[in-house]
């Protein structure tokens, strides 16, 4: 009988600990499928964040390092400078990448560090129980913005792709979403491109993945997908923000 669907080799057998309907699981799978398809699992070294994906080191079959909160791009830089021929990636949440780790993110991008960053934007601090993130939308209720994010006192969200695409360092910056089958397919294509760029030595690539956190949004998985579509897509437009392949044409 022909096999039509199976677990990617780049994922271990450890069961995910993610909540039902959480898109972290989908994104792990996409990354693993890409590692499989590019044949680089044995050559890859991943860096897990502090956030709900902290245990990613147990899920990916490649060598892994667990970084301190926000420091994954610095850790990845250290790894890549030792093994320039290896495929080095980080997998980070929005609190990790765009708050505590902003400096590491911006400077690894500015250096054009030849690494791949998978960035999960779920507009919330998932792991710590749903506090306001740098990406929390104006008006969004969280544990630490209980009256809705008031931009006058709590500031404005950061659009990471837009910000990083102003730099000369990155080779590829794109925003994708995990809300529908077509978008998931596009997300995978973007993730693949971000890894391919590294393999081809083109430099820093980042894919921002609009994701859901049904648990801390207080929504069912289906309602969460709807919220992503209704509230997040208009604020965080999908698309490719930087691609040196197009610039060079």
């Amino acid at each position: 009988m022909a096999i039509v669907f199976q677990k990617p080799h780049a994922l271990t057998d450890a069961p995910f600990h993610y909540c039902p309907g959480c898109t972290h699981g989908i994104c792990h799978r996409l990354v693993a499928e890409v590692l499989d398809e590019l044949g680089v699992e044995g050559n890859a070294i991943g860096v897990a964040p502090v956030g709900c994906a902290v245990m990613a080191y147990d899920y990916f079959n490649c060598d892994m390092q667990e970084a301190a909160h926000g420091r994954a791009p610095a850790v990845a830089t250290g790894i890549k400078r030792v093994h320039p021929d290896k495929v080095v990636f980080t997998y980070q949440g929005d609190g990790d990448l765009a708050a505590i780790g902003t400096a590491e993110t911006v400077h690894s991008a500015a250096r054009g560090e030849n690494i791949t960053i998978i960035f999960i934007n779920n507009t919330i601090y998932g792991m710590t129980g749903g506090q306001m993130a740098p990406t929390t939308l104006p008006g969004q209720v969280t544990q630490t913005s209980p009256y809705g994010r008031d931009i006058k006192t709590q500031g404005n969200p950061i659009r990471v792709c837009e910000m990083l695409s102003t730099l000369d360092g990155p080779s590829y910056i794109a925003r994708v979403a995990l809300d529908s089958v077509p978008n998931i397919k596009k997300a995978k294509a973007s993730i693949k491109k971000a890894f391919q760029n590294q393999i081809e030595g083109k430099g820093f690539s980042l894919v921002e993945v609009l994701s859901t956190c049904p648990t801390n949004w207080g929504l069912s998985p289906i309602e969460a997908i709807k919220r992503l579509q209704k509230d997040m897509l208009p604020y965080y437009p999908l698309g490719v923000y930087k691609d040196i392949d197009n610039e060079n044409k």
Binding site: I45, Q65, I79, K80, V82, H107
Partner: protein, 354 residues
């Protein structure tokens, strides 16, 4: 025998590190360690090594984490305020059992403090700094030549025990020029690094560099296992230099730059007929408590001289364990004690002894 060259302490650290096989240096500018970064920036690109100026000390130490976890001999250097920032990363490095060498050319604190030599970070480097039950192996050279041999030892011991090591100096030591040779740097030892993340090649289970253990039992187990290594280090790696302690009434102790001032004071005191001996700790952690315990069998008093308000003196007291009074003299904020001040302090103590 190789020729002696005239070198600054900070540069000698760099050259010794390179000769010890270090090819990855991650830094962030701060006075007074500047010459070390500058040396690495000049040398590394010429020998296929990496010098990277990070965006902060936080980033630099995390680059060290990544590089050390990937199997390299990695180094970073800073001075007090920068070491405070690195403390997060140092704790993670200790928790993940990664070997590396951290250089701390101490300056006066707290806060921005000053840029002159100080020893006011003894607590920070020997008692923690970052969070959790951990230690660094801390080497405190007092000459440029000793910087060379201890830098080599720092890499080797760090890998042997999988414990991060530190070279602790100050601006005087970093900037003083002395003739050195590099004969004391052995061929870099090949340590077993089968734990490093180098890519599985699909030939082995994946390696994980990590300090997270959500189960308290599992976490406690790793801490106890590490403590056993610390115990071996405390047993086997205590280093010091001592002289004239057999007949000493008063034992003066100091490390690093201060120990050189103490030596000149003690010379004068002995010429006056006072029975004064010296213990100079070379490792600050592990603290050389055995020699203090030994000296306490006969000495009538101890004096710890430091460029601080009294930090190492606490370890001296623990080691002497009530067998004799332990006095303290220190200058701080970037001021080096003078031989005369130390002489007067010792005379005062001697006057009080029956």
């Amino acid at each position: 025998m190789s020729e002696k060259v005239l070198m600054k302490g900070n540069e000698a650290i760099g050259e010794a590190a390179i000769r010890s096989g270090c090819r990855h240096f991650f830094g962030y500018p701060i006075t007074p360690q500047t010459e070390l970064s500058a040396y690495m920036a000049k040398k590394m690109p010429k020998i296929g090594g990496v010098f990277l100026q990070a965006e902060s000390e936080v980033a630099a130490i995390n680059m060290v984490y990544g590089a050390a976890g990937a199997g390299a001999r990695a180094m970073t250097s800073s001075s007090s305020p920068g070491i405070s920032l690195k403390s997060e990363g140092i704790s993670y490095i200790a928790g993940a059992d990664l070997p590396c060498v951290i250089v701390d050319i101490v300056r006066g604190g707290p806060g921005l403090g000053g840029i002159q030599p100080a020893q006011s970070d003894y607590f920070q480097v020997t008692k923690g700094g970052g969070h959790g039950d951990y230690h660094l192996i801390v080497f405190a050279p007092n000459s440029v030549q000793e910087i060379v041999s201890l830098t080599a030892d720092a890499f080797n011991k760090s890998e042997e025990y999988r414990v991060p090591a530190m070279i602790l100096g100050d601006g005087t030591l970093g900037q003083m020029m002395e003739p050195v040779d590099f004969d004391s740097v052995p061929e870099p030892k090949k340590a077993d690094k089968s734990w490093a993340t180098t890519g599985t090649g699909l030939k082995r289970e994946h390696n994980i560099i990590n300090s997270l253990y959500l189960s308290p039992e599992a976490l406690e187990k790793t801490i106890i296992e590490r403590q056993k290594r610390y115990d071996i280090i405390k047993e086997k790696e205590q280093r010091y230099e001592a002289h004239d302690i057999e007949d000493a009434d008063i034992v003066v102790t100091a490390y690093g730059t201060t120990s050189r001032v103490v030596e000149s004071a003690v010379k004068t005191l002995r010429s006056e007929g006072l029975k004064v001996g010296v213990i100079r700790p070379i490792t600050l952690w592990p603290f050389p408590d055995k020699i203090f315990a030994e000296a306490a069998k006969t000495a009538k008093a101890f004096l710890s001289v430091e460029m601080s308000m009294g930090q190492m003196v606490e370890d001296v007291k623990i080691a002497v364990n009530g067998k004799a009074p332990v006095y303290f003299f220190g200058r701080t904020g970037g001021i080096i004690p003078t031989p005369q001040e130390i002489i007067e302090e010792v005379r005062k103590i001697a006057g009080g002894l029956k």
